[in-house]
C-alpha cells in the first residue's frame, strides 16, 4: 500500500537518514521510533507526499488515494465552528456526507455539543479532537500520525487508540510516532527504529531490545 524505496533526506548539507526501504501493508499499525532529530516527522511527511525526499521515492498504491495526516498542527480554522470546519474539509475532499453524518462524526470525538461553537474557543485537546474528526471523515487508506497524543487528555488518548484499532480493522495502513513507547508497542504490529541515520530495527515491537526501548522512552 505504501512503499519507501531507498529514501534519503538532507537538511541543507546534513544527512538526516538514508537507505530507508520498507513497505507498509493494509490493515497494519507501525510504530516509528527514534530520538529527537532522527527524522521521524520528516519521514512521515515524505510518506504523506508533503516533502520530497532528497533521494529515493515514496510510492502509494491505495484504492481511494486518500492519505490522512495528523500532526502537531490541527489544520483547524479558529473562526469557523466545528461543524463548518468539517463541512469545509468534506467539500475540499469532494466527499458526499450529510450534515447528520458530520454531526455523528463530531459525536464520535465527543464534540457534538460544541458543533456550533467556534473552534477558536476550543482547548488544544479539543482542537486535536476536531482534527481527528477530519481524519474520520476521510476514512483514509493510509493514516500517518506524528505524536498525535500531544495535548490530549486520557479520555481523548483512549478515543484515539480506539479509532486507530478501528482503522486497522477497516484495512487502513497506520504509521505513528509516539511518546509513550511501552503503551503503543502493544498497539502496533511492527516497529521501525531510526538511529544514526539508518533503519536500526524493522520487526515486531516485542523484538526491540530493552536498551532501545529505554533510550526511546527518555529521548522521545
Amino acid at each position: 500500500m505504501l512503499e519507501l524505496d531507498r529514501v534519503a533526506h538532507l537538511y541543507g548539507h546534513t544527512l538526516v537518514f538514508r537507505d530507508i526501504s520498507c513497505t507498509f501493508g493494509a490493515g497494519s499499525i507501525t510504530l516509528l521510533l527514534g530520538g529527537n532529530g532522527a527524522g521521524k516527522s520528516t519521514l512521515l511527511r515524505i510518506m504523506a507526499g508533503l516533502t520530497r525526499p532528497s533521494f529515493g521515492a515514496a510510492r502509494f498504491t491505495g484504492k481511494s488515494g486518500k492519505i490522512g495526516h495528523l500532526a502537531h498542527s490541527t489544520f483547524v480554522y479558529p473562526a469557523l465552528t466545528a461543524l463548518e470546519n468539517l463541512t469545509f474539509w468534506r467539500e475540499a475532499h469532494c466527499l458526499s456526507m450529510t450534515k447528520e453524518g458530520l454531526l455523528s462524526i463530531l459525536g464520535r470525538v465527543g464534540l457534538a455539543a460544541r458543533a456550533h461553537d467556534r473552534a477558536g474557543t476550543f482547548s488544544r485537546g479539543m482542537a486535536q479532537r476536531l482534527n481527528l474528526a477530519r481524519i474520520l471523515l476521510l476514512e483514509p487508506d493510509v493514516l500517518l500520525l506524528d505524536e498525535p497524543d500531544t495535548g490530549l487528555d486520557a479520555a481523548s488518548q483512549a478515543l484515539l487508540r480506539r479509532e486507530l484499532l478501528e482503522a486497522r480493522r477497516r484495512g487502513a495502513c497506520v504509521v505513528l510516532t509516539s511518546h509513550d513507547i511501552a503503551r503503543d508497542a502493544q498497539l502496533a504490529d511492527r516497529a521501525l527504529l531510526l538511529e544514526k541515520g539508518r533503519l536500526a530495527h524493522d520487526g515486531p515491537p516485542s523484538r526491540l531490545s530493552p536498551p532501545d526501548v529505554a533510550e526511546q522512552a527518555c529521548c522521545a
Binding site: 508533503l50 489544520f75 480554522y77 469557523l80 474539509w89 467539500e91 475540499a92
Partner: protein
C-alpha cells in the same frame, strides 16, 4: 477541482466578511489615499480625469495587496495549508478559489472607491460605461490572478507585506496603465484612439497572468518548508 474551488471561495468569504474585521482596513487605506489626493487641489479646482483614474487604481492596487495577504494568512494559523495539499483535487483549485474571493472583495471595495473618487476628486461619470465595466473586470481579473499567485509566494514570510508589494506592482503596471487609460475616458477625458487598444492590452495580460497562475501556483504553494 470546481468543488474544492467553491469550498475555498465560500470559506474565505465567510472568514473575511463575517468572522473578522472584513474589508475595514483595506477600505480605510483606499479612502485615505483618495482623500489625501483631494487635498492636493486648491479650492474649486478639480483633479484632471487621468490623475483621478490613477488614484482610483492606486487605491485598488493597495487594497488588493492587503486582501491577498489576508486571504493567504488564513491558512497559516494552524498550518491548514498542509491539509489543503493532501486534498485530492489539483492544488490550483486553491489559487482559483482565492483569486475569485479576492475578485469579489476587490469589487466590493471598488464600489466604495468609485463614488469616493467622484465626490472627493470632483469627477463625473460621463464617459462610455460599457468599456469602463469591461476594463474594470479585465483589470481586476488580472490583478487577482497575479495577486493569488504571488500571495502564495509571500505566505509564511515575515516580510510578506513588503515582498508582495515589491514583486506585484512592477508586474501590474500594464494593467494599471490600461485601467487608468479607460478610467480617464470614463471621467470625461477625450482619447482619439478609443478604449479598444486598452481593452486588448488588459485582455492579453489577463491571459498571461491566468496561465502563469495555473502553471506556477503548484510550485509556489507546495514548496517544502
Amino acid at each position: 477541482m470546481l468543488r474544492m474551488t467553491l469550498a475555498v471561495l465560500r470559506k474565505d468569504m465567510t472568514l473575511t466578511l463575517l468572522r473578522s474585521s472584513g474589508l475595514v482596513q483595506t477600505l480605510l487605506l483606499g479612502l485615505l489615499l483618495v482623500f489625501v489626493f483631494s487635498l492636493s487641489q486648491g479650492v474649486g479646482e478639480n483633479l484632471n480625469a487621468r490623475n483621478a483614474a490613477a488614484v482610483f487604481w492606486l487605491s485598488s492596487a493597495f487594497c488588493q495587496v492587503l486582501i491577498f495577504n489576508q486571504l493567504y494568512a488564513l491558512e497559516e494559523t494552524n498550518d491548514s495549508r498542509l491539509g489543503l495539499l493532501l486534498c485530492p483535487a489539483p492544488i490550483q483549485a486553491v489559487w482559483l478559489g482565492k483569486a475569485i474571493a479576492g475578485l469579489v472583495l476587490l469589487l466590493l471595495a471598488q464600489c466604495v472607491f468609485l463614488p469616493a473618487t467622484v465626490v472627493f476628486l470632483g469627477q463625473s461619470l460621463n464617459g462610455p460605461l460599457r468599456p469602463a465595466l469591461a476594463i474594470l473586470l479585465l483589470t481586476d481579473t488580472g490583478m487577482c490572478a497575479l495577486g493569488s499567485l504571488l500571495g502564495a509566494l509571500a505566505q509564511g514570510q515575515t516580510t510578506r507585506e513588503s515582498l508582495l508589494s515589491i514583486v506585484l506592482f512592477p508586474l501590474l503596471a500594464p494593467l494599471l496603465l490600461a485601467g487608468t487609460g479607460i478610467g480617464a475616458q470614463v471621467f470625461g477625458s477625450a482619447d482619439p484612439d478609443g478604449p479598444g487598444a486598452w481593452l486588448g492590452l488588459a485582455a492579453a495580460f489577463d491571459a498571461i497572468f491566468l496561465a502563469a497562475g495555473l502553471l506556477l501556483f503548484a510550485f509556489l504553494y507546495t514548496g517544502d518548508e
